[in-house]
Symmetry: C2
Subunit: 213 residues, 2 copies
DNA sequence: TCCTCGAAGTTGATGGTGTCAACATGAGGG
DNA sequence: CCCTCATGTTGACACCATCAACTTCGAGGA
């Protein structure tokens, strides 16, 4: 037997599940107070184990933080994927445009909803051009070219341009003390990008439908 | 006399200049190692004063950090202003477009050159819509409308959209481990914005001149 | 069945940090 | 000339990360 599923509330010497318990406690702390507030000793206390127990499962604080960052990134991509799939429109061009906008909206909304996890996840991105958000954008942008809305000559580097826009908006919205969350501002940003891309194929910007509401 | 200009290397009991010495030491630390690495005790050591001396001039670590953030913000605005004024082109429309691009370039370049100060300065922004970068963008965008490149209907919210783009690019470029500094990517972003604004008045995007080089 | 061996958890120490409280100094105004 | 009080100092406390040495206990072989 694999030794998991230890009996509840039994204070065994061996926790049996420490690694997972620490990570999920870590996620909770980062969610509520940010990555700076994560302390190994505090986590150990919460889980009911002594300080230093964590060192049997993680090389140190940074290692645990990296694991938490992974959870955050996974959560972000999960919600983005769901939102992408929720776009159901028949017109191919409109559908592609709305998918791009929805990627941006879901990204920003996650950042605002989970600033702690968001900041940590982003700070852990090693290779920008190999990261999940980049790859998702790449797909959506390819589609935009395929349906004839974005000109192939303007395709190169579009991932970074789009990501920069929504990422910067997210940071401005959650950084510092004042919150800029005005939905209208985000729609302006998304419209700006959409208009620019339409212009590459001479299409006048028909208004982009707003959020699903 | 104002008690300043104390004699060099004289180990007086009263430093005479502690506040300034602490702040500039703080700027140096943040510049080289980031805000997280700033420790009051370390600063005191560098300045040759005992721990706790700083508490005669600052309420605590956060207070000192705020002062350093102010210095960073001032430096950022200084370089941006100089770069803005360096745009000397006769054609009014082209000049306005280049000024917008130059705001973006100088912002990103500062972030890449001084990531520690940049991050700290941005994190200290209290009211986004009253911050110096926002106000500078507002001026440039007003100009863009005045010369007939940006349509008045598309003017609203443009500060946030532009700032989001360059800010996000900056963050992606300096965050995490891998650096994305590819100049070409920034030009793509600036072109995307420029094209979008030109489209609002039906102007086809004549290529935007690259960096002064 | 028993025994051992190593993974998992514990205790303790070291050196770092921010911050409070009480004390010491000495420069400048009365 | 001396007194005052802003400016520095010393000491203490409570945290923290991390290393080293010790303890426990579960699983697998004899």
């Amino acid at each position: 037997m694999l030794g998991y599923g230890r009996r509840v509330t039994a204070s065994t010497y061996h926790h049996g599940n420490l690694r997972e318990a620490l990570v999920s406690a870590g996620v909770e702390v980062v969610r509520e107070h940010g990555a700076d507030a994560l302390a190994l000793r505090d986590l150990a206390r919460r889980v009911g184990v002594s300080h230093n127990a964590a060192y049997r499962h993680f090389a140190g604080r940074d290692d645990l933080l990296a694991e938490v960052a992974g959870r955050g990134a996974a959560e972000l991509m999960g919600t983005m994927t769901r939102r992408l799939e929720s776009v159901t429109v028949d017109d191919l061009v409109l559908r592609a445009r709305m998918r791009l906008a929805e990627v941006g909206r879901s990204y920003v909304e996650f950042a605002v909803r989970e600033p702690g996890l968001f900041r940590l996840a982003v700070s852990a991105i090693a290779d920008v051009e190999a990261s999940p958000p980049y790859l998702m954008l790449a797909e959506v942008l390819d589609d935009l070219v395929a349906v004839g809305y974005l000109a192939p000559e303007a395709r190169r580097g579009a991932e970074i341009a789009c990501w920069s826009g929504v990422h910067g908006f997210s940071c401005l919205a959650i950084d510092g003390t004042s919150r800029l969350d005005h939905d209208a501002a985000l729609e302006v940003l998304l419209t700006t990008i959409d208009r620019s891309y339409g212009a590459t194929t001479g299409q006048v910007a028909s208004p982009l439908p707003g959020p699903a509401a």
